[in-house]
Amino acid sequence: MPSALLELENVHCGYGQTSVLHGVTLSVPEGSIVSLLGANGAGKTTTLRAITGGVHWLGDIRFAGRSLRGRHTEDIVGEGIAHVPEGRGILTELTVDENLRLGAHKRKDRDAVRKDYDRVFEYFPVLKERRWLSASTLSGGEQQMLAVARALLMKPRLMLLDEPSLGLAPLVVRSIFEIIRTINQTDHVAVLLVEQNARLALELSTEAYVLEVGRVAVSGKSAELQGQESVRRSYLGY
């Protein structure tokens, strides 16, 4: 069995006195899409933040076989993890193009970057139109597109997406999810997807974990979870 790209083993963490994760274990296989579901406050965002070093944690987190313990966010993302944070992390003081350039700013393979630019504009033509405008002029959906495009320009092996559907119209969500699937398939980027919209997330992913107050309550193949009515009712709310 090939070892997973990302592994979390009994991860505990919290903010100050408040403990948020109480032993989360999960893994993301190379090239897969895994969804992380759960109610508000279950610890989904905190799990992602732990992975990229945004909170202090206990237990172990390994990426491509190497522990991420004690490493800084800047180094972790350099290993090939692109994290699209809650709220999208758009740099609204800068232009669309500058946001994209920041995604690729550490890369030395200039020709490949140029090709990635072309592909990103193919996925999201609207970004090409708005390229020289301030990122603050983009709508919510366009900002989400920019965030995904920028993450892709980091040439990651793993993308962490925190609620890409939040606040967006259903049609926009659909098209973004389609592109996430395309990115996963053609670029072989693994995706760890945090979502409130469990139905969509389960459609897209192959495996899923459901968090409940800082623990993994249920996990399994997405198709199986979709089929289990009791799981859907009690954890996924649809």
Partner: protein, 293 residues
């Protein structure tokens, strides 16, 4: 008319000096939301370094860039050693730290170089040149040119290079920038280095006009504050425009408003600060502050 042109040129020369120091203030304000009260003292100290190099026989045009380099490194070191430990402290703590730094640098300059005012050599001849029938001092025009070149260089660095892009990103959006691999903490240090170097330009340019002594920058920094506030404390372009406006206003008021004369010029700068804060708190180029609470 001829006198007016002379006054305008010398106002712009003062303005260019204020603009450089104001830009230094803005660079640090952008990076940490903090006005560096030690900026003027740091510039003064750098000027003493330039002075020391020159009186030991170094050519002015070698001493000048060398001093900027030293000021840059010193700015980085100050950030690492003095500011870094209190980086996350409340802004009031930081203000006190920079005030302490100002006192420290001032005292160190007094201790090392003494309080006797010294005349600083100027590489520019004192002659005047004839433009459109008016005589402008070559000194003033040179100051404008030197500051202009430095300000354009900073603009190109910030707007046209990757390092400038990461600097701006880190200054405005530290958390998302970190997730894109920007070393935010180093960017702060780099910001301090740049500010320190730009500030040093103002010190070296003003020293031949005033006399070099440890308190030389204490009025200049007030003008620079006025310029930065007028431009909208967050805008580098605003700092430059603000600097020129303050320089012109102060000079013209000094020359043509009878009761201002030479004595109340500083009061004009203070009036600008108060006026801007009352009438247009975001300055000419600033944006209204929007905060999520």
């Amino acid at each position: 008319m001829q006198e007016l042109i002379q006054q305008v040129v010398s106002g712009l020369a003062s303005g260019a000096i204020f603009a450089s120091l104001a830009l230094a203030l803005v660079l640090i304000y952008n990076a940490m939301g903090l006005v560096n009260f030690a900026q003027g003292e740091m510039a003064m100290f750098a000027t003493f370094i330039a002075f020391t190099l020159i009186i030991h026989g170094l050519n002015y045009w070698i001493a000048f860039p060398l001093t900027l380099g030293i000021a840059f490194v010193a700015g980085v070191v100050i950030e690492r050693v003095v500011i870094r430990p209190v980086e996350r402290a409340p802004v009031l703590t930081l203000v006190i730290v920079t005030l302490g730094l100002a006192t420290l640098v001032n005292g160190a300059a007094g201790f090392l170089f003494g309080y006797v005012p010294r005349s600083f050599p100027s590489p520019f001849s004192v002659q005047t040149i004839n433009i459109l029938g008016a005589f402008a001092s070559f000194q003033d025009l040179s100051v404008i040119a030197v500051c202009g070149i430095v300000l354009i260089a900073i603009y190109l660095l910030l707007q046209r290079t990757t390092i400038g892009l990461t600097l701006r990103a880190a200054a405005h959006h530290p958390e998302p920038s970190r997730l894109l691999g920007v070393r935010v903490s180093w960017m702060l240090a780099l910001g301090w280095g740049l500010a320190s170097a730009v500030g040093a330009v103002s010190g070296i340019m003003v020293a031949p006009i005033l006399l070099l002594e440890p308190n030389m920058m204490q009025t200049i920094i007030i003008y620079a504050f006025a310029a930065a506030v007028l431009g909208g404390i967050e805008s580098p372009l605003g700092a430059v425009v603000g600097g020129l406006i303050v320089g012109l206003t102060v000079n013209l008021a000094g020359a043509y408003v009878p009761f201002v004369g030479g004595d109340l010029e500083l009061a004009v700068a203070l009036a600008i600060i108060v006026g801007v804060l009352v009438i247009k708190p975001n300055g000419l180029f600033g944006r209204a502050a929007v905060r999520n609470v």
